[in-house]
């Protein structure tokens, strides 16, 4: 046992956890490019924000890179055909989501030609105006490739408006099992760095800090070589610790400044993007290519050949696994299917779900890894308190939620929870803490929605009552006026009559 390990209990605040990262040998396996599958399934919702609106009809021929769905609303992203072929359906498919609910998707049957439509490359991208860069990023449908899938152009524009000075590039990849960002940096460091420089130009930031966890020495070396000669791009190794790649944590480690609660990194002059996003930005700006493929890590004890695969968006996880060597024993020991990383990824009911823009991993976990076990009563050991990277009290919050005291849970900081899963990972009683928090947040937003709806209904009802009252009043007034006129007229008539009589 090393001395540092012996002294660890005496060191200062130790947020987060140090999970067994399971990254190798998958990270060291050479990148494989998956050939075109027969069919691609493209959900219209692959990003945070409004779903895209399909612009193609069934039977229509599309070319590779052609836009097939338009962005809708302020925060949204268009979707492009990952290959040439025919739209065979616009229908509901199983969403990459644990609920197994369905989601509209455009289904394309590949014709095998796989030729790009007309692209508009830009040989001198650094002469483009910042606004033009973000417009090209927007048109290319790029979203955050780290998993959150927030539309990248919206973030670039926001950063330019907030006049950020620092671009933080997230190469942390703190999720265990995943290595697609690692592979991205090892194999395409030059492209990543060029993308980072383009994003610097788009945001107006003066320097980029690339945070890479120190368990990826090859990526750090490759990125250092690629960034040599570009003083504005600084490679910063950070300690391997989960959740280092979480926005607020990474910003604090790299810049030393805390992002205020309820705020954004832009509030302190920082914007955060992922390394994969940087490379996609380069492809969009320099080559004019929209986002049609991504790197996906295949990992887990049930996977025959763990590694990274470049996959067209819309490819079913089933097809990716089949290409990459299948499951051990045809999936006999498979305990859990996960899209994304084990800490924050989504469990899916079967493999017939497509890879989307935010899919960083396909994990086939056996029973040992998934570690699903009966939960026990809380013994108040406080491990969750030590592990929480946000400084919350998970045990207290879950106790409140269990008693339906949601307001108390909010007072304890429920809304600051980033659902990273550290608390549940260390819990000796195996309490599904994240499940409590996700449930409570959903319940709260449902209550908010209900309240808004009630208020709207009340307002409408009030307006109707007011209108009816007004109409009744106006009617009465009009009647009174008419009566008055009539009476006046009658009086006048009587007057003339009387006058006539008297005359």
């Amino acid at each position: 046992m090393r001395l540092t390990r012996l002294l660890k209990p005496f060191s200062g605040r130790d947020w987060g956890i140090h999970p067994d990262d399971h990254k190798r040998p998958a990270a060291d396996a050479p990148l494989r490019v998956m050939p075109l599958p027969a069919r691609l399934y493209l959900p219209v919702q692959q990003h945070l924000g409004g779903a895209a609106r399909p612009t193609v009809v069934v039977g229509q021929k599309v070319r590779k890179g052609e836009r097939i769905a338009d962005a809708q609303g302020m925060v949204s992203a268009p979707i492009h055909a990952p290959t040439s072929g025919t739209v065979v359906a616009v229908t509901d498919i199983t969403a990459p989501h644990p609920s197994g609910l369905s989601l509209p998707a455009i289904v394309i049957e590949a014709d095998g030609d796989d030729v790009w439509g007309t692209l508009s490359p830009c040989p001198r991208p650094f002469e483009l105006a910042p606004q033009t860069i973000s417009e090209r990023v927007y048109a290319a449908g790029i979203v955050g490739m780290g998993g959150a899938a927030f539309p990248a152009a919206v973030k670039l524009d926001g950063a330019a408006r907030a006049r950020v000075d620092t671009l933080v590039i997230n190469g942390g990849e703190c999720e265990p099992y995943l290595s697609c960002d690692d592979r991205q940096m090892r194999d395409f460091a030059d492209e990543v760095v060029e993308g980072i420089r383009l994003m610097l130009r788009a945001t107006g930031a003066t320097s980029a800090l690339v945070g890479i966890e120190d368990n990826k020495p090859e990526a750090i070396a490759a990125m250092r070589t690629a960034a040599a000669g570009h003083d504005c791009v600084r490679i910063r190794p950070v300690p391997a610790r989960y959740p280092m790649g979480s926005e607020k944590q990474l910003v604090q480690v790299l810049t030393g400044v805390e992002v205020p609660a309820e705020g954004l990194p832009a509030d302190i002059g920082v914007v955060v993007h992922n390394v994969g996003t940087a490379r996609a930005v380069r492809a969009a700006v320099v080559e004019g290519k929209p986002l049609v493929s991504r790197l996906v890590t295949l990992n887990g004890n049930c996977m025959n050949a763990p590694g990274n695969v470049e996959v067209r968006l819309g490819t079913l996880a089933e097809d990716v696994i089949a290409f990459a060597g299948g499951l051990k024993g045809d999936g006999l020991g498979l305990a859990r299917r996960v899209l994304g990383g084990p800490m924050m990824g989504l469990q899916v009911p079967h493999w017939r779900v497509p890879v989307v823009k935010g899919t960083s991993g396909i994990l086939a976990l056996d029973a040992d890894e998934a570690a699903a076990r009966q939960s026990h009563p809380c013994i108040r050991c406080g491990r969750c308190v030590q592990a929480c990277p946000m400084g919350l009290l998970p045990l207290e919050m879950s106790a409140r939620i269990r008693n339906d005291a949601l307001t108390d849970a909010v007072d304890l900081g429920l809304k600051d929870c980033i659902a990273c899963g550290c608390c549940a990972y260390v819990c000796p009683s195996r309490i599904p803490l994240v499940q409590y928090f996700v449930h409570a947040k959903g319940e709260l937003s449902r209550q908010d929605r209900n309240r808004l709806r009630n208020e709207a209904t009340k307002r409408l009802a009030q307006q109707r009552t007011d209108r009816l009252a007004r109409e009744a009043r106006e009617k009465a007034e009009a009647a009174a006026r008419r009566r008055a006129e009539r009476e006046a007229k009658a009086a006048a008539k009587t007057d003339t009559a009387t006058a006539g009589e008297s005359a």
Partner: protein, 364 residues
């Protein structure tokens, strides 16, 4: 409403676990107690071993009765998660080593039924069950609870055989020649007689207080050094943090140091306080009880220091020679309040929970 009931399968992330479990924590604590316990068996012979077995068995028995009465489905699993056995073990370490069987059974009842299950079982109790039992026994049965045995290896009389030991456990009278006062007890008696401590420590009748632990007392008293070693093992293993133990020892030693340097005839030396009584057991095994101590490190510092200070006050000015149990219970009662006021700072917020102010930035 309860998210656990929404379908059998847990669907929320994370899909990985660190592998820690309640049973593993309890096992580690029991492992850490083992050297001190074995030393106690050697010191006080078979009766101590039989009492140890009896106390743990009593706790398991009462736990099983409670679980059965509550209609808990997983009786076997809950019974052997290690918590009831650990309570029994800790209680056994605070009893006089030759205590009779009914003390173990009544103690187990108080610890498990009154100390833990009436609050709602594991994790719900406010007070440390073993300390509740010890204090209740001490107040109710002061005589058998202070019948200490001088260490057998130092004795002229032969150690009792297994059968004799069983007889002692079943209530046979203990020969007077075997008994001895604990150091703290002796000092208290002499002080009350008006003899000052300088004379007590200088006299030949005083029981020795060697750091090796060859002296009268409970299992958790004589083997202070082995308990310290066990505590350090738990800290290195990450089962407990150093905060509460260190604060407790500091809370005991600091006032002792001040008092002793001002008036050595009236106040015992810090070393006596640290090695005597239940200081080490309390610091590393009682004050670190997950359920009844604060959740935060800073809360644990206050908690530990409070126990140490109160224990010193009781030892120095109270009617009892040892106050660790009372001190623990008093601070247990304060734990919910400590947890309410001592909270970690949320990232991006100040101590009061308001979002941090935006820093001044150029150009905005």
């Amino acid at each position: 409403m309860n998210p656990l009931t929404q379908g059998a399968a847990t669907v929320a992330s994370p899909h990985a676990h660190g592998g820690n479990s309640v049973a593993r924590c309890m096992l580690d604590v029991q492992l850490a107690l083992t050297p001190a316990t074995l030393f106690g068996f050697w010191l006080y012979g078979w009766p101590a071993f039989i009492l140890w077995v009896g106390t743990i068995a009593a706790c398991l028995f009462w736990e099983a009765v409670c679980l059965r009465l509550q209609g808990v489905g997983r009786v076997r699993e809950t019974l052997f998660d290690g918590s009831a056995a650990l309570t029994g073990w800790l209680l056994a370490m605070t009893l006089p080593p030759w205590a009779p069987w009914w003390l173990a059974v009544v103690g187990g009842f108080i610890a498990i039924v009154i100390g833990k299950q009436v609050f709602g079982g594991l994790g719900q109790n406010v007070f440390n069950p073993a300390m509740v039992a010890r204090v209740a026994l001490l107040v109710s049965f002061p005589l058998p609870m202070t019948a200490w045995i001088s260490p057998l290896p130092l004795h002229a009389l032969p150690a009792p055989e297994l059968l004799d030991s069983l007889r002692i456990f079943l209530g046979a009278p203990i020969p007077d020649a075997m008994t001895s006062a604990t150091w703290l007890g002796h000092a208290k008696t002499e002080l009350m007689r008006g003899v000052d401590l300088l004379q007590v420590t200088g006299s030949d009748t005083a029981p020795p207080l060697p750091w090796t632990g060859l002296r009268a007392g409970s299992l958790g008293e004589s083997s202070a050094v082995l308990l310290l070693a066990g505590g350090l093992y738990l800290i290195v293993r990450g089962v407990i943090s150093w905060h509460a133990p260190l604060a407790l020892l500091a809370g005991l030693a600091l006032p002792a140091l001040i008092g002793h340097s001002l008036d050595p005839a009236r106040y015992l030396a810090p070393s006596v306080h640290l090695l005597g009584g239940g200081a080490m057991l309390g610091a590393f095994f009682i004050a670190t009880d997950y359920v009844t101590s604060p959740n935060t490190r800073s809360g644990q510092l206050v908690f530990g220091f409070g126990i140490g200070l109160i224990a010193w006050i009781i030892r120095s000015w109270g009617g009892y020679p040892e106050g660790m149990g009372f001190a623990v219970l008093l601070m247990n009662a304060l734990t919910p309040i400590l947890d309410r006021f001592v909270k970690p700072r949320v990232l991006g917020r100040d101590r009061r929970g308001r979002p941090l102010d935006l820093p001044e930035r150029e150009g905005t």
